[in-house]
């Protein structure tokens, strides 16, 4: 019994941690789709950029917490700049170009990441609680990395913060209104341009936060966000594309399922995860949360 519980903890905690990072990326994807019916292929590249920024700040003497906060805020502005400088200009011509443009942006940012820091993996500061890297659970004799627990906790705090921002603030309400009906929102005096820019900002900031949280676990590299960005999107579809809460749940499912498949039969880990996703979408096209945003579009 203890062995089974130990195995569950060994797999579930890291899986949940990965899932939270995917979920953070999924929130941005859901908000963006709900607001402008498009997808952002550059999210993974921004995750990498944020993680590298956090790492370089640590190298300049900042602690893990302060470097993560600064990198997250900086990436918020990167997202805003991307939207205002590139996306909003392209969006006017044809919305479908945004998908291609973000693909191009992804390549440009990823290559820039590689050019600046190269292809090496760098060490990020390790999270220590009471000078220990692990939380030891005596009853099942298992060590759980504090980095995993902290990543899960911080992700939850970020998710709850986004929830409150969207539901309890005036600007959040404006964002939701602009997402529901941009023309009506505009006529009520809401700046849709501003709400879309903030959506991009939130998406990039959450991605960077995810990148910084995975740094202590896997190290930091230029390509660290490529998988996380794509899986965040997958999780968002699984949860119901356009639904923020669905994206969180979807991301967590992807993270846990991926880890379990890695344990059961690793050569088909990715194939099984994606096959499961396909089956799920065929049976539940509106995802777990039965989100109708796709039909509405």
């Amino acid at each position: 019994m203890n062995d089974t519980l130990k195995l569950i903890l060994q797999l579930m905690i890291p899986g949940l941690c990965l899932g939270c990072v995917y979920g953070l990326n999924g929130i941005g994807a859901a908000l963006l789709y709900k607001g402008s019916h498009t997808i952002n292929n550059a999210q993974g590249a921004v995750v990498g950029f944020g993680a590298l920024l956090g790492y370089s700040l640590q190298n300049r003497g900042l602690g893990l917490i302060s470097s993560t906060i600064i990198a997250t805020i900086a990436c918020f502005f990167v997202g805003v700049l991307l939207q205002v400088g590139v996306i909003s200009q392209i969006e006017k011509k044809a919305p479908i170009y945004v998908v291609i443009a973000t693909l191009a942006l992804s390549i440009v940012i990823t290559n820039a990441n590689y050019l600046i820091v190269g292809s090496y993996t760098y060490d990020s500061a390790v999270i220590l609680i009471n000078v220990s890297k692990y939380l030891h659970i005596d009853s099942v004799n298992v060590d759980i990395l504090w980095s995993n627990i902290v990543a899960i906790a911080v992700s939850f705090i970020a998710m709850v913060s986004v929830h409150f921002f969207l539901n309890k603030t005036k600007f959040g309400s404006a964002m939701r209104a602009a997402a529901m009906d941009p023309f009506a929102a505009e006529s009520c005096g809401i700046s849709v341009v501003k709400t879309r820019a903030v959506t991009w900002g939130i998406m990039s900031a959450l991605g960077a936060l995810g990148g910084c949280l995975t740094g202590p676990l896997f190290g930091v590299s230029a390509g660290i966000g490529i998988a996380a960005g794509a899986k965040g999107n997958t999780g968002a579809v699984l949860g119901g594309y356009g639904n923020m809460y669905g994206a969180i749940i979807g991301g967590m499912i992807i993270g846990i399922v991926e880890t379990i498949f890695g344990y059961i039969y690793s050569p088909y880990q990715t194939a099984f995860t994606n096959a499961l996703f396909l089956i799920f979408i065929l049976l539940l096209p509106h995802g777990i949360m039965n989100e109708k945003a796709i039909e509405e579009g």
């Binding site: 890291p14 896997f218 344990y263 050569p267």
Partner: protein, 414 residues
């Protein structure tokens, strides 16, 4: 009038044809007169690599170091040497299709006599036939045995074939009484062949493979399941074969997951990766590679390697930590010796000359006289131990004979 125009056109065509034929004939003479004076002749070295990242940058730096020296000192009988480098990086990874196009261009437009298609075995496998058919000297830096088994006369390797490394790995495991081994591998040509070979050798040597798991990708995300599976199989040791630069992530995750036993890795562990893993947790890692990554040149105790590192440092101001440095350095030594022996920059002459060559390289004697197009045959391995923290690892043979009190012995996970 029409007849006159037709006559003039015919004459012009004939003149053009004569010019083409004469220049074709001249080219062969230009490259391969074999008289030892190659001044005015050009040797074009083609490189296909990921130019935007550290690997491609390092490849170019090493080649340019040699080219500058050769051209300045007239080392290659006065021949002018130039580098034509093409990028095969596509969305963060080296791409086979792009590599094929690059090699085609190097052969047809640039007329490169030497082509170096980088360090990835799957790419060398894809372009090796083209290079061989184009009769250019190809130098692969990859480690998989597969592409060398094609029998391409013009394609050489300036690194150690993985298969030559394996007997010493299983022998070491046996000598340390590590009977149950687990294998972690990535899904690349090099890693899959390495996995198969190590499995076969282990079984032959009486070892048990208790688990084998595939690592999804090089980014390190999502491999907790595989690592848990491997650790739960209670191995005496773990063998990891992955892409260069990925070992740090895998070793770090193994240690973070509580594995304390010895870890064999199929390549070099760069100092940047050692930093990433942490000094203490890198103890017990055995690098199955002829090379060592040095943080400082002083840490190196091999005079030949030290002089190479120093020469590089003098030109670029940093000490290279990637084993690509050694492989490319050896590739350039091969080009230099081939031209000097052939007294020609013609690829066919160089190819003939290479089979007679035997000279010092960064991993020992490079012996091309055995007819296999390989040059290194002896395995080497290095151990990170308590003695090596903060400096270079210890050679395996020294570590095995070291006083027990002086070394960190790690036999089993806690």
């Amino acid at each position: 009038m029409k007849k006159a125009i037709r006559f003039v056109s015919m004459i012009l065509c004939l003149v053009l044809l004569c010019c083409c034929l004469s220049s074709c004939g001249q080219k062969k003479e230009e490259e391969g007169n074999g008289d030892g004076d190659l001044s005015g002749k050009t040797l074009t070295i083609g490189l296909v690599s990921s130019l935007a990242d550290n690997t491609g940058k390092l490849h170019q730096e090493v080649i340019n170091l040699f080219i500058d020296k050769w051209n300045k000192e007239g080392t290659l009988y006065g021949a002018n040497v130039k580098l034509v480098a093409y990028d095969n990086l596509n969305n963060g990874a080296q791409d086979t299709e792009m590599s094929i196009k690059c090699v085609q261009k190097l052969l047809s437009s640039d007329h490169a006599q030497v082509i170096i298609p980088g360090q990835l075995s799957n790419i060398i496998q894809a372009v090796g036939g083209l290079i061989n058919d184009g009769e250019a000297v190809g130098i692969g830096l990859g480690l998989a045995p597969t592409w060398m088994e094609q029998g391409w006369e013009y394609v050489y390797r300036t690194a150690l074939n993985n298969n030559f490394q394996i007997p010493s790995v299983t022998a070491t495991m046996n000598s340390l009484n590590q009977k149950n081994i687990a294998i972690l591998y990535q899904n690349t040509d090099n890693c899959l062949t390495f996995r198969d070979s190590i499995k076969a050798a282990a079984i032959e040597d009486g070892l048990n493979v208790v688990a084998e798991e595939m690592l999804a990708d090089g980014s390190g995300t999502g491999i907790t399941g595989q690592i848990t599976s491997v650790i739960n199989s209670d191995p005496d040791t773990i063998f990891v074969t992955a892409m260069g630069g990925s070992f740090g992530t895998v070793v770090k995750q193994l240690r973070q997951s509580g594995y304390k036993g010895m870890i064999y890795i199929g390549q070099i562990l760069m100092t940047t990766e050692v930093d990433s893993i942490g000094d203490e947790e890198v103890n017990g890692v055995i690098m199955c590679s002829p090379y060592v990554s040095y943080e400082r040149i002083e840490d190196c105790n091999n005079d030949f390697v030290k002089s190479c590192l120093q020469e590089f440092y003098d030109k670029y101001g940093y000490c290279p930590v990637d084993d690509q440095f050694y492989k490319m350095w050896d590739a350039m030594l091969l080009v230099q010796n081939a031209v000097l022996a052939a007294k020609s920059v013609d690829a066919a002459d160089m190819q003939k000359a290479i089979s007679t060559l035997k000279f010092d390289g960064t991993a020992g004697t490079m012996d091309f006289t055995k007819g296999s197009n390989e040059c290194y045959y002896g395995a080497r391995a290095w151990v990170y131990t308590g003695q090596g923290v903060g400096g270079a690892p210890v050679a395996l043979e020294d570590w095995l004979t070291m006083d027990v009190s002086k070394k960190v012995i790690i036999t089993k996970q806690s």
